[in-house]
Symmetry: C2
Subunit: 526 residues, 2 copies
């Protein structure tokens, strides 16, 4: 079996790859190679997937949302039936703890997302129908076409290309998905493929609804997202790879939704610090080191007042970092990038408070690392001091004044989140306003007195933000129906005969879909 290469899922069949190159996952705790050879797919088989997806996309045009909902719900069930296998594989491939992380957190979140997407597909909420009876024009969102989803390394379930948020959203909008697994956890991804295929068959969906390839060359990835038969793509991962894919998709006019990087600034006002420094140090340490800091919303930049209270706070956090257990990182590549990021910050002038060296935990690890820099120094080179060090580390900025804090906020790149901690008595409220104004335009989600880790699956969630956090500040990857709408195209019907209109645009509204008619939202018939 040593030479057995795992097949890919093409057009409803587990198919031997024609590729000659293979890769393996590594257990980051034992640092040993895991069994299983997975193929790097050459263009020829990627093209087979594209053709099958394009054909299925045509075939499914006009299908009711209930069919996609049935599939998503059945798939959630099939995932639950494979929960133990998935958790075992993901633990081996990512080093993430079985409990509470994988078993009690991420897997239920994943099936919850699939079921929420199913509900939205069934209710047609994501279509946002608009009716102008006087002009005789009606509009809604329809499926955009085959979607490619690239999952990241840090959420083997909830953001996996074959089971995560982008996947659920693309299917709910009526599109087939070509999933590109992350090379760090191919076996986990394979098990999802098995569950998906079972659900496809159980619900009588076209077999190419979900296809799976594990890896491609960078050039073929770029060809894939820019192919004329593709409707759109979703990507969560490293910035440099994402930008290459984005450039290819942009040149071909193909929408690509990206989540690229974020340092998630946290501003702590003096009132908050004076009131509850120890509690804040605990709260920050918990958030920053959770999952070995490998969250998209990990707080990587903290701005505190300089002076005694601020300095004491840095020391307090440093002590906690030094005492806290060091987690295992997802992969050697993550450690290398983290180490390089820390070095860039030090080279730019940041001071090491604690950590700074590889090791300290089981397997692939790096010490919990805390750095500081003065506000005026940060502002001399704000770009470099915003270097993302993805992992269990953070940079504290000691600001001389609230005005300097605001200047730092104004100098920030786009981020997913930004948090402001202030006194519960309201003594910081004027300063809050000073910081909030610049910060609000730089981040997708603004928090008060709360750390950014933990992304609720809520209709009001924005897991997005201005570039380079994502590719467009109007879209969110989490939150239904907004996440689904990304995979829709706007379709207007002008003077189209009544019986030819899609059901949600007809006069009668038996399904009770929310529709905007003459500017008013209503569930009523026209």
């Amino acid at each position: 079996m040593a030479n057995f290469i795992q097949p890919i899922l093409l057009n409803g069949h587990w198919t031997s790859s024609i590729g000659t190159s293979v890769f393996h996952a590594v257990n980051p705790i034992t640092e040993e190679q895991l069994p299983g050879n997975f193929p790097v797919s050459p263009w020829e088989e990627i093209e087979t997937a594209i053709n099958a997806a394009a054909k299925v996309s045509r075939q499914m045009r006009g299908w009711p949302g209930s069919r996609f909902a049935d599939f998503l719900e059945c798939y959630a069930k099939e995932i639950e039936a494979r929960a133990e296998l998935l958790i075992e594989a993901a633990h081996a491939e990512t080093g993430l703890p079985v409990s509470p992380r994988l078993k009690d957190g991420e897997l239920p979140r994943t099936t919850n997302q699939l079921r929420q997407a199913a509900k939205a597909a069934r209710a047609d909420t994501w279509r946002a129908p608009v009716i102008d009876p006087i002009a005789g024009i009606r509009a809604m969102l329809g499926p955009i076409g085959p979607v490619v989803v690239f999952g990241p390394n840090n959420f083997p379930f909830a953001f996996n290309g074959i089971s995560g948020g982008d996947f659920a959203a693309a299917i709910a909008a009526g599109n087939p998905v070509i999933a590109k697994g992350h090379p760090c956890h191919p076996e986990t991804t394979r098990i999802f493929g098995d569950a998906a295929l079972t659900a496809i068959r159980e619900t009588g969906m076209p077999e190419a609804l979900v296809q799976l390839i594990y890896r491609t060359s960078h050039a073929d990835g770029a060809k894939l997202v820019s192919d004329h038969r593709i409707g759109a793509s979703g990507y969560t991962g490293a910035r440099h790879t994402g930008l290459k894919l984005k450039a290819a998709a942009d040149a071909a006019g193909k929408p690509m939704y990206l989540e690229l990087s974020s340092i998630n600034p946290v501003f702590i006002m003096s009132g908050a610090l004076n009131e509850r420094a120890a509690g804040l140090a605990d709260e920050f340490t918990g958030s920053c080191l959770m999952g070995t800091g490998q969250f998209c919303t990990n707080p990587g930049l903290v701005v505190v007042p300089s002076g005694e209270a601020g300095t004491a706070f840095v020391t307090a956090v440093g002590e906690r970092f030094a005492k806290a257990p060091v987690g295992t990182m997802l992969a050697e590549g993550v450690r290398t990038s983290f180490s390089a990021g820390i070095q860039t910050l030090i080279d730019a002038g940041a001071t090491l408070v604690t950590g700074g060296l590889p090791g300290g935990g089981k397997g692939i690890s790096f010490q919990n690392t805390l750095l500081t820099v003065h506000g005026r120094q940060f502002l001399v080179n704000p770009q470099v001091f915003q270097t993302e060090a993805f992992g269990n580390g953070s940079l504290f900025v000691l600001a001389d004044s609230v005005a300097q804090m605001a200047e730092i906020a104004e100098s920030l790149e786009g981020n997913l989140t930004g948090a402001i901690y202030s006194s519960t008595t309201g003594s910081d409220d004027a300063d809050y306003a000073t910081i909030e104004k610049p910060l609000r335009t730089k981040v997708g989600r603004l928090l008060n007195d709360k750390m950014p880790t933990g992304v609720a699956v809520s209709a009001a969630m924005n897991h997005g933000g201005p570039f380079p956090a994502t590719g467009h500040p109007g879209f969110t990857a989490v939150g239904i129906p907004a996440a689904i709408s990304r995979f829709g195209m706007l379709q207007s019907y002008d003077a189209v005969r009544p019986q030819r209109l899609p059901p949600v645009l007809q006069d009668k509204n038996p399904g009770g879909v929310w529709r905007r008619i003459d500017g008013e939202w209503t569930l009523k018939d026209l």
Copy 2:
């Protein structure tokens, strides 16, 4: 006065350009140069405009929609006060008829758009507030930042960078605008600038809310849309220039909404042809030659059944084209492009039915031109036969079967519109379905028994479509509030203290804004 160079509108002041290069408009009817030297702005003054816009954008953060509404309404009034001047200037610069086009059509449409945008700004409808009371998360759209708007040559009022749909939408979303006038109608644009500045002062808005430059180098245009201080851009115009700007904006992660090209396919089924060929020939001729064919939604590709009825129809349209007056084109560049497009189609194998030569009308003109090609030939090289010839011409495709028509529909690039004409008796209904399925995914707006020219300003309008018609199939440039939302960024508030929330996200809803709370749209308080 011969050397007087018109000033540009920078930060509330008509300012002498420091540029050394000038340009002039040409009257396309007389082919004579019009008085007035207009400057090509060098980067230094573009940067002044960007800085002023960025400052104003910061200043206006959090301002209520009513302030922008007041400005837009006042501006509409100031435009009306200058109606005669505007119409006279636009007629001289574009050759478009005073009545009904400029006076009774485009100018009222323009002020209507500004007032509709004002209404949406006042009512906060475009913000689409979402409240999740249990998770404690609330979201809405906020202004995206300074917006650059490039207007096209063909609508001196309704799509002008300083008065058109993109302009109105950007302001309604609370953003300052840097307008880039079209070099074909600078004097018209200047008069709008005068009206805008008056309205800014009357309503006490920041002076840099609207700035105006007439022309830049291509390189500086690319720098402008990709500048880090810019929030987004809007562009309506030629495909090749738009793609260069898009590439620059994309690389910088700056949203750019484009309208690039469209041949607006029309499919005429045999039942319709047998029933009302003469009426259809009149209707098509009227639509195709209106405004000398210089509409974004001009029907440039018509697919009819081959055989006797189809051939007779081509002949009938050809006779009408030959008899119809030849209109004046907007500019020599338009004629050159049209001529080149026609030649490309002929070189590819299309047959000339009528027209094909420059002249035939007053000033800059080109004969009304009709071409045909067989469906099988079209399908050999569908890309080339979709070459846009922007003007008073069209290509008729003679299709051998409904299946071939469907194949042609499937081979189409993205378009703004697509129309299907069928028998009123329903005899074509099965064939309609065959064509509609592929056509629906290729066009933003689908029409029945109606020509695509005439874009109603309706909430259900989609003046957009898949690439290369636009840059993203989810957005429309016409239709409120959707057009406004393009210039918003999604802003989520997580655990933000109640009194710090923007008014539309607070528990009380005194303004009666439509909000989605727990999945239900409501006007009520929480």
